[in-house]
Point group: C2
Chain length 419, copies 2
Amino acid sequence: MGLHEDMVALAERAVAASRVLADLSARRKNAILLAWADALEARRDVLKQANSRDVEAAKAAGMAAALVDRLTLTDSRIAAMAKGLRDVAGLKDPVGRVLSRTVRPNGLEIRKVRVPIGVIAILYESRPNVTADAAGLCFKAGNAVILRGGKEALQSNQAIVETLRAGGKKKGLPEHAVQLVETTDREAVRELVQLEGKVDLAIPRGGESLIRAVVEQARVPVIKHYKGVCHTYVDATADLGMALRICENAKCQRPGVCNAMETLLVHREVAEKFLPMLALRLGRQLKVELRGDEAARALAPAMKAAIEDDWYAEYLDLILAVRVVPSVEAAIAHINKYGSNHSDSIVTQSPEAGKRFTREVNSAVVYVNASTRFTDGGEFGLGAEIGISTDKLHARGPMGLEELTTYKYIVRGNGQIRE
Amino acid sequence: MGLHEDMVALAERAVAASRVLADLSARRKNAILLAWADALEARRDVLKQANSRDVEAAKAAGMAAALVDRLTLTDSRIAAMAKGLRDVAGLKDPVGRVLSRTVRPNGLEIRKVRVPIGVIAILYESRPNVTADAAGLCFKAGNAVILRGGKEALQSNQAIVETLRAGGKKKGLPEHAVQLVETTDREAVRELVQLEGKVDLAIPRGGESLIRAVVEQARVPVIKHYKGVCHTYVDATADLGMALRICENAKCQRPGVCNAMETLLVHREVAEKFLPMLALRLGRQLKVELRGDEAARALAPAMKAAIEDDWYAEYLDLILAVRVVPSVEAAIAHINKYGSNHSDSIVTQSPEAGKRFTREVNSAVVYVNASTRFTDGGEFGLGAEIGISTDKLHARGPMGLEELTTYKYIVRGNGQIRE
C-alpha cells in the first residue's frame, strides 16, 4: 500500500473507534485514564530504554543540547505524564451536557447537546510527553486521536502509545482510540490533513514553520497559534511599581514560552521615570537585552537600537523590544499591527483606558494590571490545555476539554411536519 | 494594481471598518438596518432597472429559466429583503454578552465575552437577495462583510450595495462595512480566502463545486455544507400513518432545498405494509420517482431499480431512493456512510431506538418523529440564518447571529504575577 492508502486506513480505524468512544461513560473513561497513568509508571524502564535510543541517535546527529533536553524522558517527566493523566481523570466530562433546550410553538423540543468532535490529529515536534498529554485530553473528550510526533522521538512515542493501549485494553479502551503515525515520511502530514470527512480537526503544535505548512496543506479545520508576540503597555496613569513587577514577571519568569512578553510599550508621559527603572531592574540586574526605539534610548541610553523587525519578533529569550508611544490609541494600533493576537496587557489606573484597551486590542486574551503569563489552561481553571488558539473560530485562547467537543441538535417531535 | 493587491486593499479597508463596527451600539446598528430597509424600498425602481440588465444579459447568454427566475428581482422580493433587514433589527444583539465569569484564587477576574468575528467573506451564486440578507446578519453581529456574488448578478448586487451604503451613511454606517467584489475574475475568490489575518472567515453558499473550490483554496477558516443528503428511517415500531405524513412532507413540501429527504430507509418488519402505502401516496398520487433496492422493489414493483450512486445522491427533485434495512444499526450505518451529516430523522415508538439513533447518527441535526424540513434558522427560533453548517467546528446546523461572533477573554487584576 502507498502512503495515501495507509493514512486513509489509519483514519478509518480512528473513525470506527470514535463511534465507540462517543458512547463511553465518564466512569469508564476515567478508569482507563487511571490505568494509563499506572501503566506509564509500571513501564518506566521500558520507556526510558526506548527514549535512550532516540536520545543517542539525536546526539549522534548533532542535535542541539536544548532540544536533546526536551527529547529526554526522565523519571520525573514520566511521573508528570502520569500525574497529568490522573488530573484529566478528575476533570468533569463535557460530553452529554445540554447547552440549550427550547420547545417551539409547534411542540418540537430542540436540544443542543455537547458531543465529541470525532477524530483529532495532533501534529507536534520532539517532546514525547505531548504524546500522553494529548492522548489523555482527546480521549477524555470522547475523541479518537491520531498522533504524529517528531521523527527524533519516534521510538519514545511508540513505547508510550503501546503502553497506553496495553494499559487501557483491560479496562475497555477501544482499539485504535489512540494511534501513532509510524512512518517518518513528511508527506504523511499532508495526507492526514486532507482527509476531509475522516479527520475532523488538526491541531499543530510547535514551531511556526510546522504550523504554516499544516495550514497551507489542510482541507480539514485547523486550530493553532503561530506565535506569541505578547505586549505590555504601561499607560500614563500606571502604578509604576506594579508595572515593573508585571514586566519582570512577563519577560523573565519563563522567557521561552508563548505567553511571555516580547515588546514593551510605554506612554511618553511616564517614560522618563519608568524606562530608567526598567533599564536598572531588567537590563542591569536581570540581564535582559533591551532594544529601544529612539525615544526610549534617549531616556535609557544603555539600550540597543530596535529595528522594524524587532516589533514582529518572538524572541523566546531574555530580549525585550521597547517603544515609547504617545497614547493608548497608539499602543492599541501597534499591538494590532505587529502582535500575534495572543495575549496583551495594559497597566493603568484609568478605567477608561482599560476599557478601551480590552475592547480594541484584537487578541485572544487581554489583561488589565496583570502579567500575560497567565494565559494557560491551568491558570484559567480549565484543568489542562491541549494548546492555545489565536484563531477566532471555535476556540480562542487556552483550549481545554470543552474546546475538544462540538454539539449536535437533537429534535424530538410527535409527527410534526413543516407547513 | 494587480488582483492580489486589489483584494488586499479591499480586505484592509474591511479590517479598518471592523474595528469601528465592533464598538457600535445595538441601537445604532438597528437604526442602520431599518434605514437599509427603507432605502431598498425607496430605490425599488433603480434596483429593478439594474437587475433587468443582468436578466437580459443572462437570457441572451442562454441561462436556464429556473436560474433566470432566481436572478430576477421583483417588487415582492425587494419587499422581502427589506422585511428581512427589519427582522434582523429586531433580533437580540449577541455582542458584549458575558459567556462566563470566574474569579481565580489569586483574585484575577476572567470574563469570556462575545465579540464580532471581524471580517467575513460571503461567496455565493446568482441570487441577488443574498446580498442584502448576508450583509444584514454580518452587520448586526458587528462584522465587516466582503460580498462576492455570481457574475450574472453583478449589476444587481452593485445597486443593492450602493443602496445600503447610501442608506446607512447618514445613520453612521462605517465606510467599507459592506463591500462588494466588483471584478468578475474567478481568481478573486482564491485571493480572498488566502488572506489570513485579514479575512477571518469565509462562508461559501451555493453548489458543491463552488464550495469544494473554496475549501481547497482557503487558508482562512471556512464554514459550509456541501450538500444535504437527508434520510428518514421508518423503524419497526413506527406509527406508519405518522411515517407517511413525515415522508410526504420531507420529500414533497419543497424538494429543491438542502433539508429535503433524499433517501428513505424502512425496517424490513414494516416494509411489507409501509412500502405499498408509500408507492400509492408518494409514487402514484404525488408523482415522486421511487428508486428502490431489490427488497423494496419486491414489495412495491412500480419502483425503478436504485444503483449505488443513488445512495449518495442529492436529487433536489421529486425523486426518492428507498432501501429496506434489517435493523436500526443498519440504518445508522447507512446514514453515516452515505449521508452528508446534515439532517436525519427516525420515526419510531421505541425510546431505545430513538436514543440510539440520535446518539450514533453523526449529523448536525437528528430528529425523532419529525420532518427533516425543520432544519432552518427560523424554525429553530434563531430568527434568521446565514446558512447551515455540516462542519463540526465553531458552528453546526443552522447558523444565526451568535455563530457570526466569537469571544475574547478579558482578565482584570491588581498587579497579579505568575509564581
